[in-house]
């Protein structure tokens, strides 16, 4: 069976910059796939090609079984897009924005209006519905933009960095909206710079860097490759390092890494805060003094370090090196 969203060998160059360098993708119907990568990795380029905004230099893509390059208009009928930058009209009200989108999907006058009202209520924007978008906060704009992608209740959704730039509260709010959406069976491709976000929302994660897939798997699979959660402990006295290792072994899910010079231990674990609490009890019972302790969850940087040997922050430098080469 063909997958619902498919791309083969996508290449896109901007002058010397290679935005996509032979990118493949395959998404099953009704699943959520997270495209995870640092700034400049090529995420927006992938989304733009799949949503018919951009023609690739090479490669092919289909969405819902329809060829993106041959029948862009057919594809547009089936997709909803919320781009990296909110695509809303500042001078129109929230209602006017959504109503306009409904009319341009050819839903008809009355259905457009009632759909707009329904979405504004669903996205907690009913009170602001008749104010110009100019007066909206960043989070409100984002929600309105997302609502815009849903006007025609499309079976396929593309969300490009939906929570970048939002405060933690708005981010968590938006996560629950997105979860609600996909619970109705939409197929979703979501891009993000945050491993945590991909972890929260996606069934499957594709890690992209320099326009190429560098890893692919479920969040658990990636984490086990990367090292998952771990406790970092800094021991007060040199003498108790050995005891500490012994005390923590029972809680570790893998090998404990010891740095004698800084008296710090890195303990891979499962079970998050509960395991951390248990580990602290053991250390306390054994009378081991600590300078510092912390629970670390893997970040995008860790993923990159594990997969490529450099952190995502290094990419600018890597770019520079590539240019010179």
């Amino acid at each position: 069976m063909r997958s619902f969203i498919e791309a083969h060998g996508l290449v896109k160059k901007y002058g010397k910059v290679v935005a996509l360098d032979g990118f493949d993708l395959s998404i099953d119907e009704g699943t959520v796939v997270g495209l995870l990568g640092p700034n400049g990795a090529g995420k927006t380029t992938v989304v733009s090609i799949l949503s018919t905004l951009l023609v690739p230099d090479a490669g092919s893509a289909s969405v819902g079984g329809i060829d993106v390059l041959q029948s862009p208009k057919e594809v547009r009928r089936r997709i909803g897009l919320s781009g990296q930058f909110a695509a809303v009209d500042e001078y129109l009200t929230g209602f006017e924005n959504l109503d306009m989108i409904g009319r341009l999907y050819h839903l008809g006058k009355e259905p457009s209006r009632s759909r707009a009202r329904e979405l504004l209520a669903q996205f907690d924007l009913a009170d602001a519905a008749d104010r110009p978008v100019k007066t909206y906060s960043g989070g409100m704009r984002r929600r309105l933009d997302l609502a815009g992608a849903l006007v025609a209740a499309p079976p396929i959704l593309f969300l490009d960095e939906p929570t970048t730039g939002l405060d933690p509260r708005s981010r968590i709010q938006l996560w629950s909206v997105i979860r609600e959406l996909v619970s109705h069976g939409s197929t979703l491709l979501l891009t993000t710079q945050y491993l945590e976000e991909a972890d929260q929302l996606a069934d499957d994660i594709i890690v992209i860097d320099h326009g190429k897939e560098i890893a692919h798997g479920t969040s658990d699979e990636l984490k086990s490759q990367v090292g998952g959660e771990r406790i970092e402990v800094s021991i007060r006295h040199d003498a108790s390092i050995r005891d500490a290792v012994q005390s923590l072994t029972q809680h570790a899910s893998g090998t404990i890494h010891v740095d004698e010079r800084t008296r710090s231990l890195v303990v891979p674990i499962l079970g998050g805060a509960a395991t951390l609490t248990a580990a602290l009890r053991s250390l306390d019972a054994d009378g081991i003094g600590l300078n510092d302790v912390g629970l670390r969850r893997p970040t995008l940087d860790d993923v990159f370090l594990a997969l490529t040997g450099h952190t995502s922050g290094d990419t600018d430098q890597a770019d520079a090196e590539r240019q010179e080469a």
Binding site: L53, I79, L81, L92, H106
Partner: protein, 269 residues
Amino acid sequence: MIKQIRLAFADGSVIAKRNVIKIVRVPEVLVFVLISPIMFVGLFAFVFGGSIDIPGGSYREFLMGGIFAQTVIFGATFTGAGLADDMQKGIINRFRSLPMSQSAVVFGRTASDVVYNVLSLIIMALTGLLVGWRIHNGVINAVFAFALLLFFAYAFSWIMALVGLSVPSVEVINNASFIVIFPLTFIANTFVPSDNLPGPLKTFAEWNPVSSLTQAVRELFGNIPLGTPEPTAWPLQNPVIYTLIWSAIILAIFVPLSVRRYRRAAAKS
């Protein structure tokens, strides 16, 4: 095919409606569409209108045709600036991801500018009546004069549409449009009869469609002072036909060019 045209029309009017809403939301638009026409008519009427005597007529009335023509042509700047602005805002990506007619953004923009011009014309006419301008040739001719102004301005707005889609920023459009529009509206019979201009400028003015538009409007309103010598240049002897020919030629060239340019520009980003 019929269905496609119907949808393109519907999409264009959705976009046009969006632009019309902005008249009351964007102060710059409001000032340009509603306030500046009052100032134009007022200033010209009192600064120039009173200072020049025309035997057998009123210079103030003579001026109105020129002010009408100049204002609706300046209105085309909006088409260019509006499109340039749209192309740079995120909203264009929304439009491009929708199953709408791809030329609706351009058609909707030029259509909404007709609405802008209708409003400007109404305000100018009312202000004109207030300062002593009169229609002497009957209502039907007057309606035809307004229609001719709107039609030529509509055609002209497609030139500015192409410019707006081709420039990198809104600021450029303002400069570019002044370079085009100022000579076009001043080397003409808008404010002084073209007979008084020196050699080459006189020829330019006689064949300038802004002159024929102004001449046509003056004739239709009955604002040509008695005893004014008959124009010698063909365009000014047949101003309505000459203006319509120009409008048709402009539309035939610039509609396809602008639509193609929009598709290119839209596909690029």
